[in-house]
Symmetry: C2
Subunit: 191 residues, 2 copies
């Protein structure tokens, strides 16, 4: 099946090589990997940004599944573009009501609340609610990220695959675990 390869991998210094490695792994498991266009469009070209968006959207529309790299990026949550794309795939359905398969992994093991605590001081109310310095609630369900992301994966594919210890950006072992999960499924666009 066709798999959209979402992730901040496109921002890595070795982004193009990472795309190749991910596509090669897909092929080894009998699938076709679709890697976002960010590195194929010259950023100085006219409408580069819009062309990347439209190309990525076109790939998502034809993909049967998404494997999203949800490793935290520039903050306690995953990369904004990757989260958008996971949402896009979770909301998408065929006219017959069939859905895309949504899988994701994170190379960092800590739950969301712990990661927020690494950035800022948290306090607990007498009712046990966790607050940040602006008194804004910190989701504290033990999830790796926002609950919408976590439950969307459970409902559309498989619970988020989380590393038991911090792994490098280059480590694709959990990405490969996602590919193995796909192989156990009956086929694309299952309900």
């Amino acid at each position: 099946m066709k798999i959209y390869l979402a992730g901040p991998d496109v921002f890595l210094p070795n982004a193009v090589a990472m795309g190749r490695r991910k596509r090669d792994l897909c092929e080894r498991y009998g699938h076709e990997g679709l890697y976002p266009l960010d590195n194929e469009v010259d950023p100085r070209a006219k409408d580069a940004s819009l062309r990347i968006f439209q190309g990525n959207q076109d790939m998502m529309d034809i993909a049967d599944a998404i494997i999203a790299n949800l490793t935290p990026f520039r903050g306690p949550s995953a990369d904004a573009g990757t989260i958008f794309e996971l949402g896009y795939m979770a909301g998408w359905r065929t006219p017959e009501g069939l859905r895309k398969i949504c899988l994701g992994y994170s190379n960092a093991p800590a739950p969301y609340a712990t990661r927020v605590a690494n950035f800022t001081d948290l306090k607990k109310t007498s009712e046990g609610q966790l607050l940040d310095p602006d008194d804004m609630i910190v989701e504290d369900f033990g999830h790796a990220d926002n609950l919408m992301i976590v439950h969307a994966l459970e409902e559309r594919g498989h619970p988020l695959m989380t590393a038991s210890e911090i792994k490098d950006w280059d480590d694709l072992s959990l990405f490969e675990e996602c590919l193995k999960l796909l192989d156990k499924r009956k086929g694309p666009n299952h309900a």
Copy 2:
């Protein structure tokens, strides 16, 4: 029409009052606001997190439009749950191919690259590419956030409404501008 009211407003100390204010504003413009369930489910209840997800997803499925509060939250990008929901609404379509209307606003004026620079030191390559301390590329198209978010709004509704100076979380003037934009549209689920 029915409008899903996405945003980290649900994490504010006055989250319930904010929901009421947003719903009241919707009503004033002849619409019905659907506010995420985060504050209606007791976080200590069994399956609270899953119930919030399912409730929010049900509301998104019946909504004609989304107005997303994309003000930066705990990092240089918008709130993870809000971005997921914007993606969900952007990917969604009826069996006839009709789409949801996607609108969004940010109460912070700075472009993404400037916001990243507020968190960490950036450098520029000889080709003019902006890199963070991990040598990861910083998107530098002058957008307020990741290009997928920005262009999805342009394509499905209206360009992101951005404040000309920083506004408080309580300031709903740009939210109201989004409601006025909706009124100029022909109807729900336009192509």
